[in-house]
């Protein structure tokens, strides 16, 4: 950040202090009344994807964002819920400071300023209040996701002027003020604010800007666009008809794909790819490129089936249709025709597995079988646990601290050659067998896929038995598991629950009437995921006023 700005937002450490104190004041009262996930929290920290997308939406894709963000953590199965209680560490503030300074410098850079700044100063070596005001008020509205107050605009323009005068550079001043905005809690956090509800005397409602942010981050994983902010400003968003019009517009927008990708990346735990590694000696085809492409394969499959074709959510688990690159095809051991010229990036090619192929649905993608395996071996238990937790919303207890995994991990065991045999020996321990009964019969059906997602029929020379069971339904092999999963009512109930939780920032209580209604509508709509998004977006649950908000307003 520009040195001359330091008196206003001094050093990064001081900034951390200011930011932390500010956030504390905002969130303490909410947090004190109930856990974040039980009540709708009043703010959330922008996730890395949301931060990046905001910069893209406001300044375009040419602005590069390099650097790491503060770590995210998962709560109730979603990073989005974890973000509701996420703070920013002192080192995190330093990183945001660097990002802000870097982004601001790019925006005012000679290559970009004519495109991104809507006015030219009278002199490039002096301050220009009118031009600074025009740019900062417009950019601030998009970054803060609301119109700036006159005081905020005046403070930013003043800061830009001070820096411009000191540096004899109008654009340096603009960069300083923009960097300040990018480091502001008003940008880094999304706040829900409330106002008296004119329809219900004595009650509160979410204000229009808050509704716009909730909707846009839910459906687009991006900040509200100008049309949505306008709908917030003119009150349209508060009317049923106006809200529906906006939701229809957003669901028809190409940006929906970005939102659907973000939702499933979160729900399927794709953040774990950041630490995923395989032993290259045993899984040489699991290259760094494959790590990125494994996620992309599943997300492309999801978008194609659920958004483009408006298909049945349950079919994600049985569909033979997907997209492959040469690297993924090599991992899976299948041929693919890619006639891309030498030296060009790999293409994504639509691919359909044959009807009798053991690979079908997203459970057979590397994004599931490789993600939920240790680096050197497959793990039916990890895979079964992941399926229950990520896809069925069922909690599986962690193993006791004093359990020995020696037999399970000994893949060169002279007697127990397959994972089934090793787990069978391990599960004779009564302390283990209970949990393994709910995970292993699922995961063992996926044993045709090794730790990296490659196909195999034997392990250590022994034939792999892929028979399994899911909640009483017996089957054989990965395709049998996929069919059993498709028929399990918990599958669709789970994704609907996750959608509500993702949108509202809280996991609905068991038996929640609105959730039941949404789940029923989902079934009536033949599990059309886009229709599920519509139901959630229009649901009363999304904009409900939590009790602590009323308490907060009353106290003030």
């Amino acid at each position: 950040m520009n040195k001359l700005m330091k008196p206003t937002f001094s050093t990064a450490a001081a900034a951390a202090s200011v930011l932390s104190g500010w956030l504390l004041a905002q969130d303490v009262s909410a947090a004190a009344s109930a856990p974040a996930s039980a009540n709708a929290p009043l703010s959330w920290r922008l996730g890395p994807g949301q931060y990046r997308q905001t910069i893209v939406e406001v300044f375009g894709p040419s602005i590069s964002i390099t650097g790491r963000f503060d770590p995210e953590y998962r709560q109730d199965g979603l990073l989005t819920i974890g973000a509701r209680t996420a703070s920013i560490s002192a080192s995190g503030v330093e990183r945001y400071d660097e990002l802000a300074e870097n982004i601001a410098a790019q925006v005012v850079d000679e290559r970009n300023r004519d495109t991104l700044i809507p006015c030219k100063p009278a002199s490039a070596t002096a301050s220009d209040e009118a031009c600074a005001r025009q740019f900062l008020s417009a950019a601030g509205r998009l970054l803060y996701r609301r119109a700036l107050t006159e005081e905020e605009i005046a403070a930013s323009v003043k800061l830009a002027g001070i820096v411009s005068q000191a540096k004899h550079d109008f654009y340096a001043g603009l960069a300083g003020a923009l960097g300040n905005m990018l480091l502001s809690p008003n940008f880094l956090y999304v706040y829900k604010t409330f106002e008296p509800d004119p329809e219900q005397n004595g009650k509160l409602r979410l204000d229009g800007y808050s509704k716009a942010s909730v909707l846009s981050f839910f459906l687009w994983n991006a900040p509200p666009d100008d049309a949505l902010l306008s709908a917030a400003e003119n009150g349209e968003i508060h009317t049923k008809k106006g809200l529906r019009r906006q939701v229809d517009r957003m669901l028809a927008s190409p940006s929906l794909e970005n939102g659907v990708r973000a939702f499933f990346s979160d729900m399927l735990g794709f953040s774990e790819f950041e630490t995923l590694a395989k032993d290259p000696m045993f899984f040489p085809r699991f290259t760094p490129r494959v790590i990125d492409q494994a996620q992309e394969q599943t997300l492309r499959t999801i978008v194609d089936l659920l958004v483009v074709r408006q298909g049945d959510y349950r079919d994600l688990f049985t569909t033979p249709d997907t997209f492959l690159t040469r690297s993924l095809a090599a991992l899976y051991g299948i041929p693919i025709v890619d006639t891309t010229d030498n030296g060009q990036p790999e293409r994504w090619i639509p691919y359909s597995f044959p009807a009798d192929d053991p690979r079908a649905g997203i459970l057979s993608h590397a994004s599931f079988v490789a993600l939920h395996s240790p680096s050197g071996r497959s793990s039916p238990t990890d895979r079964g646990k992941a399926l229950r937790e990520y896809l069925l919303c069922q909690a599986v207890p962690s193993p006791p601290a004093d359990v020995s995994f020696a037999v399970v991990q000994d893949t060169n065991h002279p007697v127990y050659r397959t994972a089934r045999e090793r787990l069978g020996a391990h599960a004779t321990d009564a302390a283990c067998s209970g949990c393994h009964k709910i995970t292993d019969p699922i995961g063992l059906a996926l044993e045709n896929f090794d730790s990296a997602g490659g196909f195999r029929t034997t392990e250590n020379g022994a034939q792999i038995d892929t028979s399994g069971e899911l909640n009483g339904t017996k089957f054989d092999g990965p395709v049998g598991l996929a069919k059993a999963l498709r028929s399990d009512p918990a599958l669709t109930a789970c994704v609907a629950t996750r959608a509500v939780a993702y949108a509202s920032g809280r996991t609905p209580r068991r038996g929640d009437a609105e959730l039941k209604r949404i789940q029923a509508e989902f079934a009536d709509n033949r599990y059309n995921f886009v229709e599920l998004l519509r139901e959630v977006a229009l649901s009363d649950a999304l904009f409900s006023v939590p009790p602590q908000a009323t308490q907060l307003v009353t106290a003030r």
Partner: protein, 377 residues
């Protein structure tokens, strides 16, 4: 791998025929060449190069410095102190004189004296009987025990840069290969047989592919990747062969594969012979032999001075050892008998119009996985 034969049979009859492969009920396996370089045999280095006078890079540099007037002591000090750079290096490389002008010795190697490097005097080298009549030139192949022609090895086998034992590749070729692998199109081998588990006739097709080779996570060439065949007939070679005891040999024939700088400009072998093992891990490994243009070899060696060690010494040695195709006017042999070691990994091959014409066949039993120190169940 699964349904390999069925998939190949179902998808590729027309394409196989178009590619020059016709058997009606055959299986076609695809490969890409993952290792190509001079076939070295260095187990008997001491007896093969008894003078051991060529030395390595430092000795070569000392010889070069002495050739422009430095004393041995001065040259040794400069070479071992690493001070041969800038103007001095330029002076060394521009010491050839043609038409009164200083020119690069690497462009005009005949314009400088032959350093007369030591050549191989031992008995063994990999190779094939190419029909050479000079019994004194024959080596014994350590694998087959047969008398073979391989004058290229005689010329270069005592130089440090070619003193490499597989899987290590000779240094100049390794540098070129590594530079080429991820930029230049690869070479494909298709082998068609009625039954790979039995002895019998096979058909072998060599082609260039349109994409460069893919590396795996361990840095090796990836198995079971897919490639499209270059439809140009320029690098299309169809060979008749035989599979016997897991080893494929061919009826000798000329072969040509277009290559790229800084690797050999072409892989062109006259009277090419082959023997390649079908290994249990699904890969091919073996030797190709034939007469190779001395000019092509020298071009590879002199185009990257430094990587080839004593490029000029090798140039002159190869020129002297060349044993075929004499120039009608000068009598200089323009080809040299040679042997090349190749490895190839399974690959899927398709035509540009989308037909899979060869399948990657990996072993039925993958290697055992390893236990890892994780805490999962």
């Amino acid at each position: 791998m699964r349904k390999v034969t069925a998939l190949c049979k179902g998808a590729s009859f027309a394409a196989l025929a178009a590619a020059g492969i016709a058997p009606a009920h055959a299986e076609t396996r695809g490969y890409v060449i993952s290792w190509f370089g001079t076939a070295t045999y260095v187990k008997d280095f001491k007896s093969s190069c008894p003078q051991n006078k060529n030395g390595g890079g430092a000795e070569w540099m000392i010889r070069d410095l002495m050739s422009i007037g430095y004393s041995k002591a001065e040259a040794t000090k400069l070479a071992e102190g690493g001070e041969v750079s800038g103007p001095l290096r330029d002076k060394l490389s521009m010491r050839a004189v043609v038409n009164g002008k200083n020119v690069s010795i690497y462009n005009y190697p005949d314009a400088v004296p032959d350093p007369d490097i030591e050549t191989v005097s031992g008995k063994f080298a990999y190779g094939f009987d190419l029909g050479g009549k000079n019994e004194a030139h024959k080596f014994i192949d350590p694998e087959t025990g047969e008398k073979v022609d391989n004058q290229l090895w005689r010329a270069i086998g005592c130089t440090a840069s070619f003193r490499a034992e597989p899987p290590a590749m000779p240094f100049p070729e390794e540098v070129s290969w590594n530079a080429m692998v991820e930029t230049s199109p690869g070479f494909a081998i298709m082998i068609t047989a009625e039954d790979f588990s039995k002895d019998g006739k096979v058909s072998i097709t060599l082609n260039r592919v349109t994409q460069h080779l893919e590396r795996d996570a361990a840095g090796n060439i990836m198995s079971s990747a897919s490639y499209a065949l270059d439809p140009s007939p320029k690098s299309h070679n169809v060979l008749e062969g035989e599979l016997k005891n897991g080893v494929i040999t061919i009826t000798p024939k000329d072969i040509y594969l277009q290559a790229e700088m800084p690797f050999y400009p072409e892989i062109a072998l006259r009277n090419a012979h082959m023997r390649m093992k079908l290994k249990p891990d699904g890969q091919l490994e073996g030797y190709w032999g034939g007469y190779f243009s001395r000019e092509r070899f020298s071009y590879m060696i002199t185009s990257r001075p430094g990587h080839g060690g004593d490029s000029i010494g090798i140039y002159h040695a190869v020129k002297k050892m060349a044993d075929a195709s004499p120039d009608p006017q000068t009598g200089q042999n323009e080809e040299i008998s040679s042997t090349w070691r190749i490895e190839a990994v399974p690959a899927y091959l398709s035509t540009l119009d989308g037909k899979i014409v060869a399948n990657a066949v990996l072993p039925a039993h993958p290697p055992a996985q390893v236990a890892s120190a994780d805490s999962t169940k």
